[in-house]
Symmetry: C2
Subunit: 326 residues, 2 copies
């Protein structure tokens, strides 16, 4: 077993323990069982791992770091519960979503309660870092809300552009990973510069991750990802591929894509046609390059840090995210 | 103009200023305009006034107190935005609700963003009280979520009882007023005992306020309150009057109420009949007594405090809430 795998396994267990323990803070709540259900839906726990490894890259993983890591994961899960309502998503990670199993009203309240629970955990951070932790955390929450709002408005607008899109994913996906890196660095005892660098690392892997996600929508193994190929096209999402195509393709290529996006119901043939246009027109390659560039940016943020197990783990974490199979 | 009216007028202006200023913290957010809309919907601002007067009852109103007062009001408004979605309410204070004017998805995000904004303001509290402020605030948020969840489940359950109801309103309405009193006392420099007493004051006026609300549903001036008389009956709410009737009335009286609650659509005649049963059976008087008892409890929490303008203002605040006309 590699050092990274071993360390990740150990921390994943500690994260689950923290999440489980946090339920003690809502022990008398009628929403407690539903929050437990959200935790049981699992996930890669990328954000808390990032928080922990960032702390280890500048110092060490203390109880404060574990609290903050769990707080970030709870916050992330709260956004998923509310996003699933907004996106009308029936399943997540192969399990029925909260609003499907417990109704929309309960799902709204579960999200709200989880947000309070996240702050409850964060409040346990030791004295000197409490205010700064709160600032970093609040900034993450506000940006995630902004990102989701931008996503909603971009999907309805005809005038969305690549800069709008990058701004949107920076907030929707990047901001919380940025907060994860910063919080870990702060609570691990890092300098202002280290906090900044680890925030940049998080932001950049967040953007890379999201563009990869857009790419995998068409190129991924649909069984493995548990969603049909071309779901973004079916849902008329103006994702990276779509916007890059509008910038780069000739009129013929764009016509194929727009024809699919104008249909009431998109067929498998439409998805195949769009995929071919993306491949032949260099859009797939452009997306790959973009993922690689943002990943390089992330890794170069680490280069100024001294050698440490935490730094190695962050490199592995970045690579493992980008290695998701096609 | 009485001293209370003058002081309330001054603080109401400061509260509006704080709310307005808080928009600067979300200045680039696509949700900013909607949050401004929520603020513009107005309200009595009871919670921030309670925070401020509690501070004045033990010390003085500082910038910290104003930040916390605005944070509490923003938190309260966030719960209203989400509650209105859950209750399918088209209007609030005579204005169209956020989900009606901007869609459910935006309303969910507006609430989420407002919660973050409330914490943003709270984070401005000076060093020594930050952690305790957060604790009091978190407790309020969690209990409000619990209260709303209990309200949802009680309305669906056949077995709801008076103790369940009091527990529910203590959380749904009492908790945030309790947090308001405690926060004001803490940031005003109060002792632990003063913080406890002013928390109790808030909790008790919250409960009195809610029972009065239930009573005004049938006895209030429908034009003045902007909702039809007997709305709770139409919506089959198991409110104080209903539950008290189940405890105290004979079979004939209960039969009249249950007949109305079983109907698909309740008529004006049903409302009149239920109102008569409540009046003749002493349920109205029992509700009045309950409001009066909880108000007395609230006022007796103040009796241990030394004389001050803040204390006088709290007495006036309690009385003004209970004096709402029939």
């Amino acid at each position: 077993m590699s050092r990274f795998t071993e360390s990740t396994g150990k921390y994943l267990m500690l994260i689950e323990e923290e999440l489980e323990k946090s339920l003690g803070l809502v022990v008398h709540s009628p929403l407690r069982e539903s929050i437990g259900y959200v935790f049981s839906m699992g996930g890669k726990r990328v954000r808390p791992l990032l928080t922990i490894f960032a702390a280890e890259a500048v110092g060490e993983c203390s109880d404060d770091v574990l609290h903050a890591a769990a707080a970030i994961e709870i916050l992330h899960n709260f956004t998923l519960v509310h996003d699933d309502i907004m996106d009308n998503a029936d399943t997540r990670r192969g399990k029925a979503t909260v609003h499907v199993t417990r109704g929309v009203n309960t799902a709204i309240l579960v999200g709200d309660q989880m947000m309070a629970l996240a702050y409850d955990l964060l409040e346990k951070c030791s004295g000197k870092h409490l205010r700064e932790s709160l600032r970093i955390f609040n900034e993450g929450v506000k940006q995630v809300c902004d990102g989701q709002a931008l996503d909603e408005s971009l999907s309805k607008s005809d005038g969305s552009s690549m800069p709008n899109y990058v701004d949107m994913i920076s907030k929707k996906t990047g901001a919380l990973l940025m907060s994860s890196g910063k919080l870990g660095a702060l609570l691990g005892g890092g300098t202002d510069e280290e906090i900044r660098l680890l925030g940049d690392f998080g932001l950049n892997i967040g953007i890379a991750f999201q563009i990869l996600d857009d790419m995998l929508d068409l190129e991924g193994d649909s069984e493995r990802f548990g969603k049909p190929r071309g779901l973004d096209i079916m849902e008329k999402k103006k994702n990276f591929m779509f916007l890059k195509a509008q910038q780069s393709l000739d009129a013929g290529g764009i016509a194929v894509i727009n024809a699919a996006y104008r249909k009431m119901s998109v067929t498998e043939n439409d998805v195949v046609a769009v995929r071919k246009v993306y491949r032949d027109g260099g859009i797939l390659d452009a997306a790959k390059k973009e993922v690689s560039d943002y990943t390089s940016n992330a890794l170069s943020s680490l280069s100024a840090l001294r050698q440490s197990e935490g730094k190695d783990a962050l490199v592995e974490l970045a690579n493992s995210l980008v290695r998701r199979k096609f």
